[in-house]
């Protein structure tokens, strides 16, 4: 019985130590907090911080797995090799292009989907919601295959369906050139990830105070004005969070490119370049340098978003 008589009030209220003095109680709470959260924290550091430090270390060596004898320290030479190689800049350009196109389209399309979901009648809402979760939950590789087979010159139906469009014929090889390959890659990415954006925006829409909408309506604002002057400014935080996560996610594009083109025709992304150096060519040193640069690029983008757009990280969350 003794353990049931703990004074309950003290337990629920977070102890704010008055005047800097730390009470025993708050010290115990700190200890318990770290005891409970510590393991997860340590595991997260072990699976990311440790490998990236290891990558930084490897990147300073000339090191090829098939030739371990000749492993030698060469300072920043790997970075020099990467940064002076047009292949690197080509992959950076392709990655940025895919990121900008997909995120821009997804934001507009996702907003439209969110608006429809808000307005959708109650009886069809569950159907729409279930449908919208499917692209999110489907494996990226599966989605990439579906789109690749649809556009493929032998297995696809796109060429015969859209033969009436100028430029599309039964012999159109979508994966034969950079532009058309990128078009299909972007389509697949947009299809797969728009639902996630739209769900975040839908949650943001729900936070726009109804009174403001009503007030604007009474004041004679048109539908369009209400959208731009009331709705969007009031859900800026949700938009920014969605943008931040999708941008970082898009910048890491790998699966779709691997499946659809395997980097052929100049469609290689930064992630794919790093993969190819490390796994296919077993150039651990060079691959590590590319990996570290990719990591720095992601950090830079996150930094620009957080400082530039003042994204409130307390409102953000992890999502891949």
């Amino acid at each position: 019985m003794s353990q049931t008589t703990l004074p309950p009030v003290e337990k629920t209220q977070p102890v704010s130590s008055p005047g800097g003095a730390i009470s025993d109680r708050s010290r115990a709470e700190r200890k318990l907090g770290w005891l409970l959260a510590g393991p997860a924290f340590v595991v997260m550091l072990l699976v990311t911080a440790y490998p990236i430090l290891q990558a930084v270390y490897y990147s300073l060596f000339s090191y090829r797995l098939t030739d371990p004898e000749n492993r030698s320290f060469n300072g920043l030479a790997n970075y020099w090799v990467v940064l002076t190689d047009p292949l690197w800049w080509q992959s950076v350009f392709i990655t940025l292009l895919i990121t900008v196109i997909t995120v821009a389209v997804e934001l507009v399309l996702g907003f439209a989907l969110a608006l429809v979901m808000v307005k959708a009648l109650r009886n069809i809402r569950p159907v729409v919601r279930a449908a919208i979760l499917i692209p999110y939950a489907v494996i990226t590789v599966v989605s990439a295959f579906a789109w690749q087979f649809a556009f493929n010159i032998t297995t696809g139906f796109v060429n015969s369906w859209f033969a009436w469009l100028p430029g599309v014929e039964s012999t159109t090889d979508w994966f034969g050139g950079t532009g058309t390959s990128l078009f299909v890659i972007c389509l697949a990415e947009i299809w797969k990830t728009t639902p996630f954006i739209s769900l975040l925006l839908l949650a943001g829409l729900a936070q726009v105070p109804e009174v403001l909408q009503e007030a604007a309506k009474v004041d004679g604002a048109t539908r369009w004005q209400r959208l731009w002057k009331v709705t969007i400014p009031n859900m800026k935080a949700a938009i920014m969070v969605a943008l931040l996560f999708r941008t970082l996610d898009a910048f890491r594009v790998f699966d779709s490119i691997y499946i659809m083109t395997a980097g052929a025709n100049g469609t290689e992304s930064v992630s794919f370049l790093a993969y190819r150096q490390t796994i296919a060519r077993v150039e651990i040193g060079l691959g590590s340098a590319v990996s570290v640069l990719l990591f720095l690029a992601v950090v830079l983008i996150a930094f620009l978003f957080i400082k530039g757009f003042k994204v409130d990280l307390a409102q953000a969350r992890g999502e891949r």
């Binding site: 049931t4 309950p8 977070p14 708050s26 709470e29 318990l32 907090g33 770290w34 959260a37 393991p39 997860a40 924290f41 990311t48 490998p51 990236i52 290891q54 990558a55 797995l65 429809v116 307005k119 959708a120 279930a130 499917i134 692209p135 999110y136 939950a137 489907v138 990226t140 590789v141 599966v142 789109w147 087979f149 649809a150 139906f157 060429n159 015969s160 299809w191 769900l199 975040l200 839908l202 943001g204 729900a206 949700a238 969605a242 790998f254 499946i259 992630s271 993969y275 490390t278 651990i284 691959g287 990996s291 570290v292 990591f295 992601v298 307390a314 953000a316 969350r317 992890g318 891949r320």
Partner: protein, 277 residues
């Protein structure tokens, strides 16, 4: 709303459903095309057949597909379980206790979530070969935690923050023991959040391709997405298109079932942390 605008919103809803399901319908249709029919240039098969399914389940490609399916299920379930248990403790601490470092833990989770997977692959590839974890289940489960842990911590602490914890004391005042109060009051309140988090974490692990393709080399541990990716190049049979489509359909079934059963919870889980954080 007027009847006319109602009709338009319904049309919009129907368009969304078509948009979401069309590629899935296409891959299902493709999987039912016999090898001779794959190049028919049409959306639908001329004569639906189960040939592709028998190829991957009992035929030539079954020794590629079935071990991969087993690996995927095993590795993803274990990774999900570990990250759920770890984040359960962490989320409890974040939601209920007051201690310095809360922000640090959430911030770290966020940083890990935006981490480029490929950057970890390079060092792990080398390290795993040295210590013998290359091409093993633990060799994938450990890096999968970098995918599942951050989102589990965020989602679960968002859920835990909404639990009315004072109900525990209320139960104790009413004469329940600590254990009873925990089991009868807190567990039922916390369970949906934990369960939803587990589903989302499972989706993410199930979706992984980069680790799967880089850190495995045989069917000892290769998961399905990686096996699918290798079907194209390394297959013995002539045209792998139909077999890939059939395998793609099979690995899509679990996620579709989960979505249909738990759609409301999944949406809450995905958006809770983002908006209420």
């Amino acid at each position: 709303m007027s009847t006319r605008s109602k009709v338009w919103w319904v049309v919009g809803g129907v368009l969304i459903v078509i948009y979401c399901l069309f590629p899935i319908a296409w891959i299902v249709s493709l999987s039912l095309k016999a090898p001779s029919d794959v190049a028919n240039g049409q959306f639908l098969p001329t004569d639906p057949s189960w040939t592709n399914y028998s190829t991957i389940l009992t035929g030539a490609a079954s020794d590629l597909f079935l071990p991969a399916l087993r690996n995927s299920f095993g590795i993803c379930l274990i990774a999900t379980a570990i990250s759920c248990i770890l984040s359960m403790f962490a989320a409890y601490a974040i939601a209920r206790l007051d201690f310095p470092g809360k922000k640090l833990i959430l911030g770290t989770a966020l940083a890990v979530a935006i981490f480029p997977v490929i950057s970890i692959v390079t060092p792990l590839f080398n390290l795993w070969r040295q210590i013998g974890l290359y091409d093993t289940w633990p060799g994938l489960i450990i890096p999968y935690l970098s995918l599942t842990l951050p989102i589990s911590i965020w989602t679960m602490s968002a859920f835990f923050r909404e639990i009315p914890w004072e109900m525990e004391q209320a139960a104790q005042v009413d004469g329940a023991t600590t254990w009873q109060a925990f089991r009868k009051v807190i567990v039922p309140l916390a369970a949906p959040g934990v369960f939803t988090t587990a589903i989302i974490a499972f989706f993410i692990a199930w979706n992984d391709f980069a680790y799967g393709i880089s850190l495995t080399s045989t069917d000892r541990s290769r998961p399905v997405p990686a096996a699918l990716g290798l079907f194209t190049g390394a297959s013995q049979f002539e045209d792998p298109t139909g077999a890939i489509a059939a395998a793609a359909v099979i690995v899509t079934i679990p996620v579709v079932v989960l979505v249909l059963l738990f759609q409301r919870r999944i949406v809450a889980g995905l958006t809770n942390g983002a908006v209420k954080g």
